[in-house]
C-alpha cells in the first residue's frame, strides 16, 4: 500500500514537471495596431526572428488608443500583456519615468539610425525604446490613370490646388474631390497638420507641440479660417469615412484625392498607378516613426531585448521591402525599396522632417484633438469654437 502511494506520488511529480517543462517553452508576444494587409507585411519580420533564434513569437493586435488605457492599469499591478509593445514615444517616456519600462541602452548602436530618431525614446541619458520604420505623410495621393483620364494636373500653387478641387467636384460620378479617411480621428489630424506645416511652416508645428503658440493665436486661426474651413464649406472634403473604406472608395474612383501616410503604397493593388503631391509651398512633412519598448515585467528580458534589436535593424530591412515603410535604420539598402517608396522618400528632399503633432503631444489632448476635428469636418462654421476647445484642453 505504501509502495503504491510512493509510486503514485512520484508519477504525479514527474507529470507536473513535464507539463511545467512544456509550459516553460520560451515564447515572446508582440503587440501592435497593425491588422489586415499591414499585419501580413509585418509577419515575415517576426518569422525571421523565429527562424534565427528558435524562439516562438506570437502577435496580437491592439490599437494604441486602447493600450493607452489598458497598459497603465496593468503596469500598476506589475504585469504586461506582451514582451514587446509598439506605442507612441510620449507614452514610452511617461511609463519609463514610472519605472515600467526595461532600459535598453546598449541594445542598439545609435550611429546605425537616422540622426535624432532615438531622441524621442531617450531620457536621463538612457534608452527606453527602439525605433521601427517610419511613414511619411506626404500629401494627397491620386491615381495617375484617373488624372490622365480627366486631364488633371498636379497643382503648383494654392490657387491651382483650389481650382483642381473645383474641377474634380464637377466630374460625373465623383462624390467629392477629397476622401476624408477617419478612424478615431487621426487621418483628419494628418490633413490638419499638413495645412499647419504648409501655411505656418515647420516652426509653427514645433511651437504648437511645445506649447509656445496657442491654438487661438491669430496666425493659427488664419490657417483654419482661411485655408481649411473654406475647402470644407465648399464640399471639397467628404464627410469622415472609416479610412480603409475611404481608401477603397477612392481607389474605385468615387473620390480623386486621398490624404494618407506612405503605408498606402503597400495597400493598393497597383502601386505604379500611385502619385502624390504635397500642398504647394510645404516646407515640412510629417515623418512619423513607430516605436517599440519592452515592459519591465516581461518574463524574458534578454530575449525581449534581442527581439527589439532585431525589429529595429534586420526587421526594418524586411519591412521596407514589403512597401509603404521608410527605414530609420541606415543599414537598410535603397535597392530593397519598391520604386514608389523611393519616390516617396525623395519627397522629403529639401523639406524638414517633422514629428507627428498629436502623437508627440499625446495625453488627454490627443483624443480631444481628434474629436474636435470630427466636429470641424462636418461643421466648419464652428472653427472658432473648435480652436477654443483645443486651447482649453492644451492648457490643462
Amino acid at each position: 500500500m505504501m509502495r503504491r502511494k510512493v509510486v503514485f506520488l512520484l508519477l504525479t511529480v514527474l507529470a507536473v514537471f513535464s507539463l511545467t517543462g512544456l509550459a516553460a517553452e520560451k515564447k515572446l508576444t508582440v503587440i501592435s495596431g497593425w491588422s489586415g494587409p499591414e499585419m501580413d507585411a509585418f509577419m515575415p519580420v517576426l518569422k525571421e526572428f523565429e527562424k534565427e533564434t528558435g524562439i516562438r513569437v506570437d502577435y496580437q493586435i491592439y490599437r494604441a488608443e486602447d493600450l493607452a488605457v489598458l497598459l497603465p492599469a496593468q503596469f500598476d499591478s506589475k504585469t504586461a500583456p506582451a514582451d514587446v509593445i509598439f506605442m507612441w514615444a510620449w507614452f514610452i517616456n511617461k511609463q519609463a519615468q514610472n519605472g515600467h519600462v526595461l532600459e535598453v541602452t546598449g541594445a542598439l548602436n545609435e550611429s546605425d539610425f537616422v540622426p535624432g530618431v532615438l531622441d524621442a525614446v531617450k531620457s536621463g541619458g538612457k534608452l527606453w525604446g527602439a525605433p521601427y520604420t517610419g511613414k511619411i505623410k506626404p500629401g494627397f495621393w491620386y491615381r495617375k490613370s484617373f488624372f490622365k483620364q480627366h486631364g488633371l494636373a498636379v497643382p503648383n500653387t494654392w490657387e491651382e490646388f483650389v481650382d483642381l478641387c473645383a474641377r474634380i467636384k464637377k466630374l460625373p460620378g465623383v462624390r467629392a474631390p477629397i476622401a476624408s479617411g477617419n478612424g478615431v480621428g487621426w487621418p483628419l489630424s494628418d490633413v490638419t497638420e499638413h495645412f499647419i506645416a504648409t501655411f505656418g511652416g515647420p516652426e509653427m508645428t514645433r511651437d504648437l507641440i511645445a506649447g509656445k503658440v496657442k491654438w487661438t493665436d491669430p496666425a493659427v486661426r488664419a490657417i483654419f479660417e482661411n485655408r481649411l474651413a473654406p475647402l470644407l464649406k465648399a464640399g471639397y472634403f467628404s464627410e469622415p469615412i472609416e479610412w480603409t473604406m475611404a481608401a477603397d472608395l477612392w481607389w474605385a474612383g468615387d473620390y480623386a484625392l486621398f490624404f494618407m501616410g506612405s503605408w498606402i503604397t503597400g495597400m493598393v493593388k497597383d502601386p505604379a498607378d500611385l502619385g502624390v503631391f504635397a500642398l504647394p509651398g510645404a516646407r515640412g512633412l510629417v515623418f512619423g516613426t513607430d516605436y517599440a519598448f519592452v515592459p519591465a515585467y516581461t518574463k524574458y528580458p534578454a530575449e525581449a531585448r534581442k527581439l527589439l534589436a532585431h525589429l529595429a535593424t534586420r526587421g526594418q530591412t524586411l519591412q521596407v521591402a514589403a512597401g509603404g515603410h521608410i527605414a530609420t535604420y541606415t543599414g537598410a539598402p535603397l535597392d530593397v525599396y519598391p520604386p514608389v517608396d523611393r519616390e516617396v522618400a525623395a519627397l522629403l528632399r529639401g523639406r524638414e522632417a517633422l514629428p507627428d503633432l498629436d502623437d508627440t503631444i499625446g495625453g488627454e489632448w490627443q483624443p480631444a484633438f481628434w474629436d474636435q476635428l470630427k466636429l470641424l469636418w462636418v461643421s466648419p462654421d464652428r472653427v472658432g469654437e473648435v480652436l477654443d476647445t483645443l486651447q482649453r484642453k492644451a492648457g490643462k
Binding site: 473604406m245 472608395l249 488627454e364 474629436d371 466636429l375 461643421s379 476647445t389
Partner: protein, 291 residues
Amino acid sequence: MRTLRGRALFFVPALALLAVFVVYPVVNTVWLSFFTSEGQFALLGNYGEVLSQPEMFDPRGFARGFPYGALVHNVMWIVIHLPLTAGLGLVLAVILREIRGGAIVKSIIFLGMVTPMVVGGVILRFLFDGNVGILPSLMSIVGIPRRTLTAYPDTALFSLILGSLWLWTPFSMILYSAGLETIPDYVYEAAVIDGASPMRAFFAITVPMLRPVTGVVITMTFLWVLKIFDIVYVATMGGPGGASNVLALQMYMYAFREFDANSAAVVATLLMLVALAVSIPTFRSVRGEQP
C-alpha cells in the same frame, strides 16, 4: 439562538465578498469625490468644478446646438427612449399575443436583447453609415440626401437613441408579455359583454392592470439609460465634438484618459444618487404590494 448563529455563519463568505467588492469601492469612491488629487478636503468643490465643465453641462448648446453636455444628453436619452421603449414594448406584447406566429416574431425581436452592447455599437456605426448604412439608404429613397448620421452633431445622439431602442425594447416586450398572462381572460370577456371596444379594453383594463410591470420597466430602463456606455464608446466615442457624450463615458474619460480619479468619483457618485432616488421608491412599492 445557537441555530440562528450557526445559520448566520453561512452568510459570512457572501457578506465578505460584498464588503470587499461592493461596499468598500462605493465608500471609497464617495470619499474620493470629496478630496482633491493632492489629498485636500474639498467638500463640494470637486462637484462644482466637474459640473461647470462644458463636457458635463454646456449652456452654449441652447444657442448653437449640440453638444449640451453629458448631463443634458443623458436627460434627453431618458426623455426620448423611456416612453418609446415602454410604449413599443407594450404594443408589441399585445399585438404579438394575438397573431399567429407571434412567438417566432418575439424571438426575432429578442435578438436585440441578447446582442452584446459592444457588438450593438459596431452594428449601429455601420447601420447609420452614409455609404453602406440601411437607414441612409432608406432615407435616400424618399429624397433625403445620404449622410452618416453619427458623424454630425445634430443627429449623432438621436441616432444612438434610435439604435438603443432596438437593443432594449425586447426587455419591456418580454416583461409585458409575461404580465399579460397574469390578466384573467374573464375580465376581458366581461368587458366585451358590456360592449367595450378593443381600444377601450386596452386602456381601461390592460394598462391599469399592468401598472406594476410598467413600474419595473420604467425603473430598469431608467437605470439602463443612466449607465449607457458601450454603444456610445464603440459607435461615436462621444463625438463629434462631444455631441453624443454621456455621463458614463465622461466618467471613463476622467478615470482612464485624464487619470483624474477624483472627478470620475464625482460623476460616479452623482450617478449612484440618481439611481438610488429612482430605485428605492420602486423597491418600496413592490414590498408594499406583497401580501
